[in-house]
């Protein structure tokens, strides 16, 4: 896994490059080094790296210039700073341009490994989201609708949850750019909005299928072995809970009790409730929707 990650270490002190190599290669990372910003740019014009570890103070092309160049030309590359002077203004500049983390010099192997691991996680998490942000475009009418909801609730205290509920109704899910728009509109930070979205199970950041299947995992349904039906659906649609079928027709979710225990086990497709389902019945019912 680690060897899929390509790292470029840029530092004018060869000892730093060598120690990075020793530590990170043993963990299976793919590592290259170079002694200055200029050389780094030449290398990066040829090859894409996942991560760049760079010193700030270097002759000719310094770290900040290199970071600016990377941001412009290789925006997908994650940047980690190696620095002997973590308090300097240059660090502030670097933070503003956007880096993942920094390693203070001198460093122990443990610190380097820890920072690397986090940086790798960070780029892995970020990759699909950013891709989606590029491909998802929402029609202006949808955005207008969102703005209308925001302005309607704007001055009411505690309105973030109702706004998110309404916006999820409009868009179908709550992707990052919608969350950002809401945050801006309500005068909150994106982190505040995201903390609510991630806390409540009602909110989803993934688009749902044309038909949303919800399986009740309440006690009554559990006692009546709803799991067998759930497994059958997974097998039938070839998806897991929380996923959407390839043709975007169905999505599958589980819920904690729909309060229709008299009909257990219960399945809901969109708004319609089906009671006393069995592995045989669920495929028949779903079959009617295709």
């Amino acid at each position: 896994m680690a060897d899929e990650i390509k790292i470029l270490v840029v530092d004018d002190e060869p000892i730093v490059i060598r120690s990075c190599e020793t530590v990170l290669k043993s963990e299976g990372y793919n590592i290259e080094g170079c002694l200055g910003g200029k050389e780094a740019i030449l290398k990066m014009e040829q090859t894409a790296y996942d991560l760049v570890f760079t010193d700030l103070k270097m002759p000719e092309v310094d770290g900040i210039t290199l970071i600016r160049w990377i941001k412009q030309k290789r925006p997908d590359t994650g940047i980690v700073i190696i620095t002997g002077y973590p308090s300097q203004d240059t660090i502030k500049d670097a933070l503003e341009i956007g880096i993942i983390d920094y390693v203070p010099k001198p460093f122990t192997p443990a610190v380097l490994l820890d920072v690397t691991k986090r940086a790798v996680e960070w780029i892995r998490e970020r990759a699909p989201v950013e891709e989606k942000a590029k491909e998802e475009e929402f029609p202006p009418s949808m955005l207008n609708e969102i703005d209308r909801v925001i302005s309607q609730y704007k001055n009411r205290p505690g309105s973030s949850i109702p706004v998110l509920q309404r916006c999820q109704q409009i868009v179908g899910y709550l992707p990052p750019q919608v969350q950002k728009r809401i945050a801006k509109g309500l005068n909150l930070t994106p982190a505040q909005i995201h903390s609510i979205v991630s806390f409540y199970s009602f909110f989803t950041m993934k688009p749902r299928g044309d038909h949303n299947i919800r399986i009740c995992l309440g006690t009554a349904c559990y006692v009546k072995r709803v799991e067998e039906s759930l497994n059958k659906i997974k097998e039938y649609l070839k998806i897991d809970v929380g996923d959407v079928t390839e043709d975007k027709k169905f999505s599958l979710e589980t819920v904690r009790c729909l309060g229709a225990c008299g009909l257990a086990p219960v399945m809901v497709i969109d708004e319609e409730t089906f009671g006393a389902v069995t592995p045989k019945k669920v495929t028949e019912i779903i079959g009617q929707y295709t």
Binding site: I161, G259, C261, G262
Partner: protein, 617 residues
């Protein structure tokens, strides 16, 4: 109002609707028109009747004849027989199991006979969307009395004397809660309703909100007057769309009719009410978490004190009452504390609504006086286990915070005090019956999965502790259990209970503790013998055919997805253990009880069944 010869009260609760009420209603309407009866007979869609097991159901007024399992096909015959010829149609009536005769009248049916309706006083009788029908059943009389003739202290005294305790689970005295908030000085107070019914297996509040939304609103108006609140919020789960719709309509009608808003019913009291939709977090049933959620934050509990009666929603004094509690306020104000105390016991007065579900014949909603034995609810009202040959194993009360009560304790009276002694809790009213085919270790695991998932993450013992316990239970159910696991589970439980901040964490280990207490042998069998007696944990069981009981009918052979069953017709069959995946299909298919569940066998031995031959279940 026009007069009709008969009213047909069709249940339009969630259960019956899913079973087909809309189609049956259309067919019935068309048939009545065809027969020229539309002027004489009126169809009314009511809220949940409670007898969900036999839906769609319908009650014919004035005779009170009860029809169940209605189908579109039977409608013409029903109309012809009952409404043209005047002969009630037996085929669609409830049948007595033993005597096999039909029981025409609703109140003669055992399911209804033992019930006393206070909270559910209007269930299945009124159109929940009509305020006139609610008023016709004494609706808003208590509110008028409370607002015009009583002081807050008068109201609180009645509720305190009545001994009404919160029906959400913990059973805190409602009157006391109101008194605290009433005495708090503030420029703004809030009256809140908890409709975030999160316990899996409970649907009492849903039914009340759907069938009788005005009873909740009336309770809130009276409570608001008692504590001096001018604003109220009903917090409802988003998973209950019908309840939200009905409450919304009811609030609108009330506002139009001067029952909500300024100077209610001619008094100097004003109260505004709104609905707030929950977003699916179990922990929001906890009062401080619910208030954070209304404030638009993550629903995380907060240490108490300060209690919400002093610092609640937006840091103002607030009272949060459960739906069922609020629905009892109006009749108590009208009839007085003594009337309230005519039912129930000294410490657990009044009635309690239970959602009876699981492996039981009469699934549905029941309201009974507190103090009656658990056995009466399960056997007389519930009709016992739904499969003839299966035995009762346990009844789970209190959801993820509760516990499992075994057969030997079924004669205890249903009161807050007695239930808690068993290790379960009264809870909000979910009562899930389990038969002998239930594995208690898996059941405990099911609840822990729930709490581990719903833990808000604030306290480490709850967040991490439940996860650790869940991992141990998973190991036990998959055959990796070790000696000493049971004791470790008990230890961990005690720590989590002692060190969690809110009710969720403090009660999360209950399902584990209560199953260990009563079904320790099952845990031991899982760990030591690799044997799940119920045959639920597929790594810990094997299925065998008892050749003496096998009739060779072939039901198991046809059902087996693995072709693991072999045998000729009318001769005893056999299961090839190497092919068996322990899916239980054969076990469920066999009508003669010839499939036996034995400990797990080691696969790929030559004669796998032979060495377990001596072990009898």
């Amino acid at each position: 109002m026009e007069k009709y010869r008969a009213n047909l009260l069709m249940c339009a609760g969630t259960g019956c609707v899913a079973s087909g009420t809309p189609k049956v209603r259309d067919a019935l309407k068309a048939e009545l028109e065809k027969r020229g009866l539309a002027e004489e007979i009126k169809i009314v869609l009511t809220g949940c009747n409670g007898f969900c097991a036999e839906g769609p159901v319908m009650l014919v007024y004035p005779e009170e004849i009860f029809y169940q399992n209605l189908t579109v096909e039977e409608i013409p015959k029903l109309v012809e027989e009952h409404f043209l010829k005047g002969r009630p149609y037996e085929k669609l009536m409830f049948k007595d199991i033993e005597k096999k005769h039909a029981i025409p009248l609703m109140n003669d049916i055992p399911f209804f006979k033992h019930q006393v309706l206070r909270v559910l006083r209007n269930k299945g009788l009124i159109d929940p969307e009509s305020i006139e029908e609610y008023i016709a059943r004494d609706g808003y009389m208590a509110a008028a009395k409370a607002l015009n003739e009583m002081t807050p202290a008068d109201i609180i005294k009645i509720i305190k004397d009545a001994g009404l305790r919160g029906r959400g689970g913990a059973g805190f005295p409602t009157g006391l809660k109101w008194e605290f908030a009433s005495k708090s000085e503030a420029d703004q107070k809030y009256m809140l309703c908890n409709g975030d019914e999160g316990d899996p297996g409970a649907f009492m509040d849903r039914s009340v909100m759907e069938a009788d939304p005005h009873s909740v609103i009336e309770g809130m108006i009276i409570g608001a007057k008692a504590i001096g609140a001018s604003k109220g919020v009903i917090y409802v789960r988003a998973e209950y769309p019908l309840a939200v719709e009905r409450l919304q309509k009811a609030i609108e009608i009330c506002t139009e009719s001067g029952i909500l808003g300024d100077n209610i019913l001619g008094s100097d009291f004003s109260f505004d009410l709104e609905i707030y939709l929950g977003a699916g977090a179990f922990v929001c049933g906890e009062e401080t978490a619910l208030m954070r959620s209304i404030e638009g934050q993550r629903g995380m509990p907060r240490p108490r004190p300060p209690f919400p009666a002093h610092k609640g929603l937006w840091d103002k004094p607030s009272v949060l009452n459960n739906v069922e509690t609020l629905a009892q306020i109006a009749p108590t104000i009208l009839n007085g504390a003594e009337w309230y105390r005519t039912l129930g016991t000294e410490k657990s007065a009044g009635t309690k609504v239970f959602a009876l579900t699981g492996d039981i014949r009469n699934v549905g909603l029941v309201e009974v006086p507190m103090g009656i034995p658990l056995r009466t609810i399960i056997y007389d009202i519930g009709g016992g286990i739904n499969k003839k040959k299966k035995k009762f194993k346990s009844v789970q009360m209190g959801g993820p915070s509760g516990g499992c009560i075994p057969e030997s304790l079924l004669d205890i009276p249903v009161t807050y005090e007695d239930i808690i002694k068993t290790g379960a809790i009264m809870g909000s009213g979910g009562m899930v019956v389990m038969d002998e085919d239930t594995c208690m270790v898996s059941t405990a695991k099911f609840f822990l999965e729930f709490t581990a998932d719903e833990s808000c993450g604030k306290c480490t013992p709850c967040r991490v502790g439940t996860r650790v316990m869940l991992d141990m239970l998973t190991d036990i159910t998959e055959g990796r259990g070790r000696e000493g696991d049971i004791e470790t589970l008990e230890d961990l439980s005690r720590d989590i209970i002692a060190t969690s901040l809110c009710g969720l964490g403090q009660t999360a280990p209950n399902p584990v503790l209560s199953t260990i207490r009563y079904f320790r042998h099952e845990y031991e069998a899982h760990i030591k013998e690799h044997w799940c007696h119920a045959g639920i944990c597929s790594n810990l069981c094997s299925f065998h055919i008892n050749e003496e009981l096998c009739k060779g009918c072939g039901a198991c052979l046809r059902g087996c997805p693995q072709q693991a069953v072999v045998g000729e017709k009318k001769k005893p069959h056999r299961i090839i253990q190497e092919l068996c995946i322990q899916c239980r299909t054969c076990y469920d298919a066999c009508k003669f009880g010839s499939i036996e569940i034995r400990p797990a066998v080691r696969k790929k031995t030559t004669e796998p069944a032979a060495k377990d031959e001596g072990v009898k279940q």
